[in-house]
Amino acid sequence: MVTLQLPLPTMNNRIFSHFNPKPASCLCRVRNRSRAFPSNKYGIFASWTAADAVFGGKEGTTTTTTKEEERLLPSELQPELMPKHVAVIMDGNVRWARQRNLPSSFGHQAGVKALRDLVDVCCKWEIRVLTVFAFSTENWLRPKLEVGMLMNLFEMVLKEDLENLMRQDVRISVIGDSKKLPKSLQKLKTKVEDTTRNNSGLQLIIAVNYSGQYDIVEACKSIAEKTKDGMIQPNDITEAVIEQELETNCTKFPHPDLLIRTSGEQRISNFLLWQLAYTELAFVKSLWPDFGKADFVDVLCSFQQRQRRYGGRDS
């Protein structure tokens, strides 16, 4: 079936950037989407079941299998413009549960499902790094019951999904202050990181008890130890030195190309402060459990449009 994938901006000031200088630019953008039409024209004929007998089954049908179709990028996306590192602030689980008169634990479980789907999609589309903001230092202020439930949920998900993630060749890294986490979760975290260390597919970085300012301060602490040992002088401390000591030094691509925050909030909330200098910020209105493949494709389309027009930036 033909699908219409258009970036549909919300009714805010961003619309000015879409419409300037003239509405014709919008038409050009919309016409670009119709590139999907020629590649799908045989798919249209294939969907007419009554035509199968008449056409004799050869002309007008695609023959890719379901698995191959899932692995293929949507026609709106270009492989060379895909971001290498995507960061996600998974906001809105509790609001999602409240809208359905459910306890907050249901919202977090629905959020886990959305995360699993996103990891699957990132593996298939060969995104190199996915960083997710699972738990902030400020989240300790939440009710103890909810915090306890979240810690148990992290443990359960890491245990249950380890086998599946190994099969998908996913490498897991956990960043954040692990000293405050339960002992069982700390042990599991070490085990999971060791088990998946040699995987070469998607690197999934889970930020638990993480704060951007904490990351910078910890980097300064480790540099201070090096200055104490005489490995470096205080006057030789540069941005590159700090960069090497941040928690994102566990990956080859420490700077996200794209940050997605769900639930419509338009702030970074102390996540990857240093690393987000040139990151495209995408604030999506849907709540995290409702964030699906279609929303992800929309965000990637906008990202690629801007990349095409203005090019990428290097830090």
Binding site: F16, C26, R142, V217, L276, E280, Y310, R313
Partner: protein, 371 residues
């Protein structure tokens, strides 16, 4: 059997085009079915182009009916013929089953042949190129109509927003009322360095902010173009003064003038590196006296260190980004923890109404700060 039946039998038994044409040409000679034969001939003849679906369907239905009638006629004629040729009763009794089987087989073959011929007719009709082209054109038209309707929708939306912005700008739209700026203590503007060279636009933007009631503004661009234009901007605005380091503690008491801060990339990551160097030096001095690392390296100490090296400043409540890309272009990261970020588009297309809308939207935001 009469001559007519013989011809029909010839037609039925041989299943190829030549025979059919031969048969149809034979049929043409028959005055009774000449009309039908001509129709059939027109369907199967390769040079015929004028075929319509309705006419063809009727032809096919009539053809089917005609064939059925002729098959029944064949059966009756066979039976009559056989009775005449096999005169004796004994012979008739000896081979009735075989004859019956032969008849049934003929009937079956006839029906199967009928079915395959109908399918062939359908295929030839559908494979006709003009129908395919028409179908493709129709789909393309539908697709373009869909695109057009969505473009018209966005055009209408844009016109409505422009109108709203114009009305806000001319103060005609009073329903916005007075903005509650109690939450907006510090506003930051990030401008793309290319667009920051348009100093007059920057001055106009600051005039608008002053008219709205914003008192503390931080201007940032990556390359420091705004820092270079600082004198020009301050001169153009008049009732404004730059932020000084000592002001920070008493900053929000200032009500008379707009306080402007000019920031560039060197105040961001480079500033943090300088602050790290400051803290390391402090730590080394303290270590020699037995001091603890935790006391030196903490978030409040880092804030103090940034102020000490001259890159401190308050955390903005709202950050407006003017430029083509939706990123903050290296604005001092330490100060962006809970800042609301709104992308305003290009500075060329800045609108007073858009700023009012953004500030109004900010005043309605409720932050939980993680709890």
């Amino acid at each position: 059997m009469d001559k007519e039946t013989t011809k029909l039998l010839v037609y039925e038994s041989i299943d190829n085009r030549e025979a059919f044409e031969h048969g149809s040409s034979l049929l043409i000679r028959k005055p009774r079915s000449s009309h039908k034969a001509q129709m059939l001939h027109s369907i199967y003849h390769p040079t015929t182009n004028e075929i319509t679906s309705k006419k063809t369907k009727r032809h096919i239905a009539e053809f089917g009916e005609w064939k059925t009638l002729n098959l029944r006629q064949q059966r009756r004629d066979c039976e009559v013929g056989l009775n005449e040729s096999f005169g004796s009763e004994e012979s008739r009794e000896r081979k009735p089953r075989k004859l019956q089987e032969t008849l049934n087989e003929t009937m079956m073959n006839g029906f199967m042949d009928l079915g395959s011929k109908i399918l062939r007719v359908l295929r030839s009709v559908v494979h006709t190129s003009c129908v395919q082209n028409l179908f493709k054109l129709l789909l393309r038209l539908l697709w373009n109509l869909l695109h057009l309707s969505i473009s018209i929708w966005y055009l209408g939306l844009g016109i409505a927003l422009i109108l709203q912005s114009y009305l806000m700008s001319s103060r005609l739209l009073k329903k916005n009322g007075v903005l509650n700026l109690s939450n907006l203590r510090y506003l930051a503007i990030v401008v793309d360095s290319e667009e920051a060279r348009h100093t007059l636009r920057i001055v106009e933007l600051l005039c608008w902010l002053s008219a709205i009631g914003v008192k503390h503004v931080c201007l940032y661009d990556m390359e420091g173009v705004l820092k270079e234009s600082k004198e020009v901007i301050l001169k153009e605005l008049g009732d404004v003064r730059p932020l000084e380091i000592t002001d920070e503690r008493r900053l929000f008491l200032e009500r008379k003038h707009i306080v402007l801060e000019f920031v560039s990339f060197s105040d961001g990551k480079e500033g943090v590196a300088k602050a790290a160097s400051f803290l390391c030096s402090k730590y080394l001095k303290g270590a020699s006296r037995g001091g603890e690392q935790e006391l030196v390296f903490s978030e409040p100490e880092m804030t103090n260190a940034l102020r000490a090296v001259g890159v401190g400043g308050p955390e903005p409540d709202l950050l407006l980004v003017y430029g083509p890309t939706k990123c903050h272009l290296g604005f001092p990261a330490w100060r962006l923890r809970y800042t609301e970020i709104i992308h305003m588009g290009s500075l060329k297309s800045m609108k007073y109404g858009a700023i009012v809308k953004s500030i109004r939207k900010f005043t309605m935001v409720k932050q939980n700060y993680g709890s």
